[in-house]
Amino acid sequence: MTPPTPSAAAPLEVTDETVEKSTTSDGSKGSESRSPGQLAWRRFKRDRTGVISAIIVILFFVAGLAAPLIAKIYGKDPYTTYGLSDPTLLGDNSYPVKPNGGIDSQFWFGVEPGLGRDVFTFLLYAIRNSLLISTAITILVMLVGVIIGVTAGYIGGKTDWLFGRVIDILLAFPQQLFFVAFTPVVLNLFVPANEDTPTTIVVISLITLLVVFGWASIARLLRGQVLALREREFIEAAKVTGASPARIIFKELLPNLWTPILIQGTLLLPTMVTTEAGLAFLNVGISDPTPDWGVMLGRAAQVYQDDITYLLFPGIAMVVFVLAFNLLGDSVRDALDPKTKR
């Protein structure tokens, strides 16, 4: 799924297009040339699926970031138990009185069964929290993975061997099982078992665990890319002119690695969203009073037989988001690497 030589791929496809262009415009306009990045952007704009997915993804991020603002305008917050203070909302069996999970002009997405919290703001904050955590994890994973992968690939030798074995071990772990087993252990390092764990500690340990176990595949991928690029003649050309290793890595190698980095990043984020939600669902991640996709789905799983609406909103929102982000990732890859034709 990874492009073997993204650098070589882009020009090949593009040449006939530009040649065509330059023959029609007589090729005299030097300023009209486009970088590989600009060409990728043009290809991306032509991809309708990609553009729609991008819009959906952006909407999700805007909704998540603007959650406090939207909640303020909407006039509710995700923590207040409206159902307990207003007896007309929830019936005796603690399920919403109104049909469809209590959807009305006051509560757009209905009321939560049991505590009677507002589903709309809860979902907004859940998106916000999930996306913030997943984005943080993705950025850190990419950062660690790129640094270790590029270093191992460029230096080679013993360093490469050492990192290679560490990566082997990390990839051999059953990760989900490990998260479930180890999160309480990590939490206990910070907080005694008999006390309540503050949410920030949970978030930090969650991010740490996922980053520690997430960087390996990215590092391995980039190591391979660097190994291939390192032998290319333009690297030798830079060495002949006396370029320092830092310059070679940052100025010569890295511009050629943006393609795999970007592609992996866009494919990693939705995975992290689902992983994070999965952990919350299994009660090892974020836990109840904090709004979270996984928390919502976990709660909905308990009540779905009587109140399916409560499951639908977080469920559909998550499916739409993950699907859109994955399609976006595919489109980004197609745009950056025109050689992979489906």
Binding site: S7, A8, A10, P11, L12, V14, T15, T18, S22, S28, K29, G30, S31, S33, R34, S35, P36, R232, E233, F234, E236, A237, A238, K239, V240, T241, G242, A243, S244, R247, K251, E252, P255, N256
Partner: protein
Amino acid sequence: MSSTTPLLDVSGLTKHFPIKGGFPIRRTVGAVQAVDGLDFQVAEGESLGLVGESGCGKSTTGRLITRLLEPTAGKISYRGQDITHADRKGLAPIRSEIQMIFQDPYASLNPRHTVGKIISGPMEINGINPEGGREKRVRELLEIVGLNPEHFNRFPHEFSGGQRQRIGVARALALNPKLIVADEPVSALDVSIQAQVVNLLQKVQKELGIAFVFIAHDLAIVRHFSQRVAVMYLGKIVEIADREDLYENPRHPYTRALLSAVPEATVDAEPRERIRLTGDVPSPINPPSGCRFRTRCWKATEKCATEAPPLVQVEGNKPGHLTACHYPETEATIPAPRLSKDPEAAA
């Protein structure tokens, strides 16, 4: 050759690539003897051609001179300064004087950089600020190599192979080098384009007085371009001579065989003698004892197997014509290949 210190002096240059193997502890089990004891000099403004079959160590030699590879043994001096084991800092002042042109114009230019950035890169690295700014200098260089200076902001993928190689030449010229190692600069190009690039290099050599180490496997191009030619076989120089001497009076059997393999250009020419070498080039991991060419040589004797022939001026050679053979060819032993006397080929 002048009697002053040569620009580049290579003696006993050796590069062995270790072969690692074994389990569980990896150790060196052998070595690919890519280059094994080369001696040659390059004078200022001179062009030395380096020819030989694939895998004979030509490119390795080029990479050793530019110090992309660390020599196993031997000595490389540039203007009397020993650069054999100099590190990056030690090489810094010399980097700008020895430049390289690469074989594959599709791999030697960073696809993510504009032409301007590629050509100004060497100046940036070496902190050179030419008069009027780097951009002006880049435009000048583009003009020298016959490209439109307005193409400054274009990317390599917008150029053809020949144009890309011109960009590579411009990059090599950016630092005003004294010596350019050209590693098969035209073998990846169309025949029609090869001539253009070779002529460009020749113009550069004559006008700017740059010395060249010109690595190629095409004898005709080397003959066109180089004043002196060295023939390599399995990591050793078997013969080195001035151009006319080598092409008209080859003394080493291998040189003769190579020259006889050049295709005939005229259809109705008399069929000339063609020396067919049998067998393959032996492996450089385990080269033959004595003379390395003996396994394919029709004149090999016991002596060739036991004693490696030194690279010397054998009897009947002009000064500067060195041959490593116990039984050098003469006009009498075998009729000289017609090519060397072909007036058209000499043109």
